[in-house]
């Protein structure tokens, strides 16, 4: 409180400066005015503090939404693509095994030729447009998609197809305001000509931005193709971990709380457990990561980057939260319920499991969901157990999937912030929107449960 100007009222006494003789309650004297001003200032500081906190929150959410919402749409080019048989099927016998030998790079030529032909056919002239600009117009992922489509359906060979093909992140950025004509001039990975080309195509309606499902369901991609990076593996990884946390932390947490709240005698052991739980709640999360690395990976030999390890670490982290809220919920059940059950001859165990626990369940579930939401956003411990690894294959179904390498939503965000290409920042913000949406849904569920089932005794 030292920063509040202190103009305290001095004691009025024989030694104090004498106040004016004629005083009225209706006319404020200088000292009263000063004190009232101080009162107003003090109030103002309070309002300012709240305003600053609110503004910070709004600014934070605003920037995330501003930067991230564009990750959900993506630019595709839709022009006729001629799938030259001479390129994709040099043998000419439509043998899938032979065609599989044609590398993705060759399909780049199809895209490139088709675009060049399209420009000629439609008399689109762009100044200074070179082969490199045309070639670099499409994403490397576009070629791979094309190859997969052709291999899946060899009848496409020799046809002219009109499928949307993914453009590079630079072209995409031109429609999201990230790349301007000026910045394109100094960017090694795009050019002014490419910018003009994109604008010319867009004017004809050949470039379209549409909702990008691949961002939510796709896998991570390498440094050079941010346009195809997706969150699929991270979402599955996070989901697996939440599953493990739920299955382990909820029963263990509830059992611990029941013991401490209903059965534990007051002795050294009980005190020790209590002290441990309150301290674990305050241990920095990264220390849990060290525990996971040393205990689960080095000693127990579990695989790195696996959801099982992440789930175990997050379980240990979430336990204190669940225990604290469960104990509060158990304590909120009035003693009269217990007395009544014991009075009609139930054992203590029956009292707890038949009467107290069901009544405390809404509170327990609320606490558990909030604990899960916390665990979902936790990053640091997961980085130590190797979840930053670059994973491009989906983990398989549980239980084997728990041991497959996976990523996690918050770690994927971190991963993308470490990439050089600015297009990944957009993805990182987009991933945060997905993360926050999940957390919001969980918290709303918790609030709903509380409203719906809460009982005042």
């Amino acid at each position: 409180m030292t920063d509040v100007p202190s103009n305290l009222p001095r004691p009025v006494g024989p030694g104090a400066p004498s106040a004016p003789q004629a005083r009225s309650l209706l006319i404020a004297d200088a000292r009263t005015r000063r004190r009232n001003a101080a009162e107003k200032r003090f109030r103002l500081y309070g309002i300012l503090a709240i305003a600053v906190a609110m503004l910070a929150l709004v600014f934070l959410l605003f920037t995330i939404l501003r930067d991230g919402s564009s990750a959900f749409v993506q630019t595709y080019a839709k022009i006729p693509m001629t799938i030259e048989a001479s390129i994709v099927d040099p043998q000419g016998n439509r043998d899938p095994a032979q065609m599989a030998k044609v590398l993705t790079t060759s399909y780049g030529k199809i895209l490139q030729d088709s675009l060049a032909r399209y420009l000629d056919d439609n008399d689109i002239v762009v100044e200074g447009l070179g082969d490199k600009d045309i070639q670099g117009f499409f994403s490397a992922q576009g070629r791979a998609d094309m190859r997969q489509a052709v291999l899946a359906d060899p009848s496409l060979v020799g046809q002219v197809v009109e499928v949307p093909v993914l453009t590079t992140s630079r072209v995409d950025g031109m429609f999201k305001g990230r790349v301007s004509r000026e910045s394109a001039a100094v960017d090694a990975r795009t050019s002014v000509a490419q910018y003009d080309l994109a604008m010319a195509l867009a004017e004809r309606g050949d470039l379209q931005t549409r909702f990008n499902w691949d961002f939510v369901t796709g896998t991570d991609s390498s440094d050079t193709r941010p346009e195809s990076a997706g969150l699929g593996v991270a979402i599955i990884g996070s989901f697996y971990m939440m599953l493990i946390v739920l299955v382990l932390a909820l029963p263990i947490g509830v059992a611990t709380s029941i013991y401490l709240e209903e059965f534990a005698p007051r002795n050294r052991l009980t005190d020790l457990i209590e002290v441990n739980i309150s301290n674990l709640a305050a241990v920095p999360s990264i220390v849990f990561g060290i525990l996971g690395l040393a205990a689960f990976i080095n000693v127990m030999g579990l695989p790195r980057s696996a959801p099982i390890v992440g789930g175990l670490v997050l379980t240990l982290m979430t336990l204190p939260t669940i225990i604290i809220s469960t104990r509060a919920a158990l304590r909120a059940v009035p003693p009269s319920i217990r007395d009544a059950a014991l009075g009609v001859g139930a054992s203590r165990m029956q009292t707890v499991f038949h009467h107290v626990l069901p009544l405390a369940m809404p509170g327990i579930l609320t606490g558990t969901i909030i604990g899960l939401a916390q665990a979902l956003g936790e990053t640091a411990p997961l980085m130590l157990i190797g979840m930053v690894a670059f994973v491009t294959t989906y983990p398989s179904a549980p239980p084997q999937g728990f041991f497959d390498p996976a990523s996690a939503l918050p770690v994927q965000v971190f991963n993308w912030t470490q990439r050089a290409d600015p297009a990944f920042f957009e993805r990182a913000s987009g991933a945060i929107i997905v993360l926050l949406a999940f957390m919001l849904a969980m918290n709303l569920l918790a609030i709903y449960l509380r409203r719906r089932f809460e009982r005042r005794w």
Partner: protein
């Protein structure tokens, strides 16, 4: 994954045991359940618990002990000179494990038959070609291959043994429980004793976690201090790790960065949080409270990675362009100031909700007395309420400080990675947590001081935060008792 299937089988047996036990009890009194000591379900539960618990405990012990046991058995087959030092040993064991897994995968994919895998030698070029084509990376060093084959066979024998033992335990337990299922049997008491035991076991997990944390930190820190003198670690002012050797691993620059950032964070969070708490508990109407309080708590629910990205993308460049560059104090987007400000933002709800509780705990009579003597509300707060709440608020600030010191993602993304001691808050500095992440992310070699130092840093962090927490809780508790 035999453990998983054993578990499923055991649980199925337990479910069957429940049905059999219950019906046996009911049949023994020919349907008149009032003659039983306990309600019929307890007889079922008794059988189920006796069937399931012993094999599940065995499985748990096996899962914990298996890696160590198998590793020891395999080590006998590796020549002593190949595992001369610690470092090559851990690398070798990783190699053995990987080769064994790959062999197993090759067998299940049909690349090799079981017999071929067991008899595989490095000279068998054809088999290795097939393995390479299938993408299986099996080591062709003779002793590694031999060890990997041993590893597989030991594992297989052990798995067979485990399956047999677990099933025997389950059936034995079931038989024992069924033989005891007679009307006079006090099934409820037995079941309740077992459940009570399970409850106690669960609550011991908290202690086990703490012990695990302390052991893993202390053990590896001890290894670190054998390789690197502790004086240089605690009093060194230079942090220049290099995996080639000759690193300087002094903690002081990291400690400086950690404390500097925490102080800035607290300078932001404490005034804002405290004023917000005072306003909300003393001035705000019920309606304002019901809107503002949850909104501030939203700040607490946002994951730290979000704050980290905010620092990196938004706050860092803002501070650089509007403060640091015009003042000529630096041109780095990641700085102590960036991390401190954003971390302060994160701590606001922490400080405000704790202080709110504490201010509300001050008895109303103190306020009434002060107001009755003619003080204005603000005078009451400053001279009566806050002094009365001071110990609690100090505790809250200490808790916030411990949070700030242990915070990771904001500093990883916002503070930079340069270890330096400098008074300029617009320069990039680094913290203990950043370096723990830095030294432990990626491939680790657990024999070099550059990796092990992370454990010593973790231990330091753990001790500091634990000390702060214990002290803060002590203060808060002592204060609370004052007015109760």
């Amino acid at each position: 994954m035999p453990t998983f299937w054993i578990m499923i089988t055991v649980l199925a047996l337990a479910a069957a045991g429940f049905v059999v036990g219950r019906s046996q009890a009911v049949r023994a009194v020919s349907g008149n359940t009032r003659l039983l000591h306990s309600r019929p379900n307890y007889y079922g539960w008794n059988v189920a618990l006796f069937t399931a618990l012993p094999p599940l405990l065995l499985l748990l012990i096996w899962v914990l002990a298996q890696p160590a046991i198998v590793a020891r058995a395999v080590e006998d087959h590796i020549p002593a000179e190949a595992i001369a030092d610690n470092e090559s040993r851990s690398l070798l064991m990783a190699d053995v494990q990987r080769s064994a897994t790959e062999l197993g995968r090759a067998v299940s994919a049909g690349t090799l038959t079981e017999a071929e895998a067991a008899a595989l030698t490095p000279l068998d070029k054809a088999a290795f070609d097939r393995l390479a084509k299938a993408g299986a990376k099996v080591s062709d060093t003779p002793h590694v291959l031999a060890a990997a084959q041993d590893y597989r066979s030991i594992n297989k024998t052990a798995a067979r043994l485990l399956t047999g033992l677990a099933l025997a335990l389950a059936l034995g337990g079931m038989a024992l429980a069924l033989s005891r299922t007679v009307p006079e049997f006090r099934a409820r008491n037995v079941v309740e004793q077992v459940v009570r035991g399970v409850l106690i076991l669960c609550s011991l997990i908290a202690i086990a976690t703490t012990v695990g944390i302390v052991l893993s930190l202390v053990f590896e820190s001890y290894n670190f201090f054998r390789l690197y003198p502790w004086q240089d670690f605690f009093f060194g002012t230079e942090w220049t790790p290099s995996f080639g050797g000759g690193s300087k691993l002094g903690i002081l620059p990291l400690l400086w960065g950690t404390l500097y950032i925490s102080v800035i964070a607290l300078l932001v969070a404490v005034p804002i949080g405290l004023f917000a708490a005072v306003y909300m508990s003393e001035y705000a109407s019920q309606r304002v409270r019901s809107i503002v309080k949850p909104a501030i708590e939203v700040l607490a629910g946002i994951p730290t990675i979000v704050y980290g990205l905010f620092a990196l993308v938004t706050v860092g460049p803002l501070i650089r362009d509007w403060l640091a560059m015009p003042l000529g104090l630096g041109n780095s987007a990641s700085s102590v100031m960036t991390a401190g400000l954003v971390m302060g933002m994160m701590l606001i709800p922490f400080v405000s909700s704790l202080s709110d509780d504490i201010i509300n705990a001050v008895p109303q009579s103190l306020r009434d007395g002060s107001l009755a003597l003619g003080s204005t509300p603000s005078e009451t707060i400053r001279q009566v309420v806050l002094p009365a709440a001071l110990p609690g608020i100090v505790g809250a600030v200490l808790l916030a400080a411990s949070r700030a010191i242990g915070e990771t993602m904001i500093v990883v993304l916002g503070a930079g990675a340069m270890a330096r001691i400098s008074p300029n808050p617009f320069e990039a500095m680094t913290t203990i947590t950043v370096k723990i992440v830095g030294q432990l992310t990626g491939d680790n070699d657990f024999a070099s001081p550059e990796t092990l130092v992370a454990f010593a840093l973790g231990l330091t962090l753990f001790v500091i935060t634990l000390g702060l927490n214990v002290f803060a809780l002590y203060i808060v508790r002592k204060y609370r008792e004052q007015y109760e």
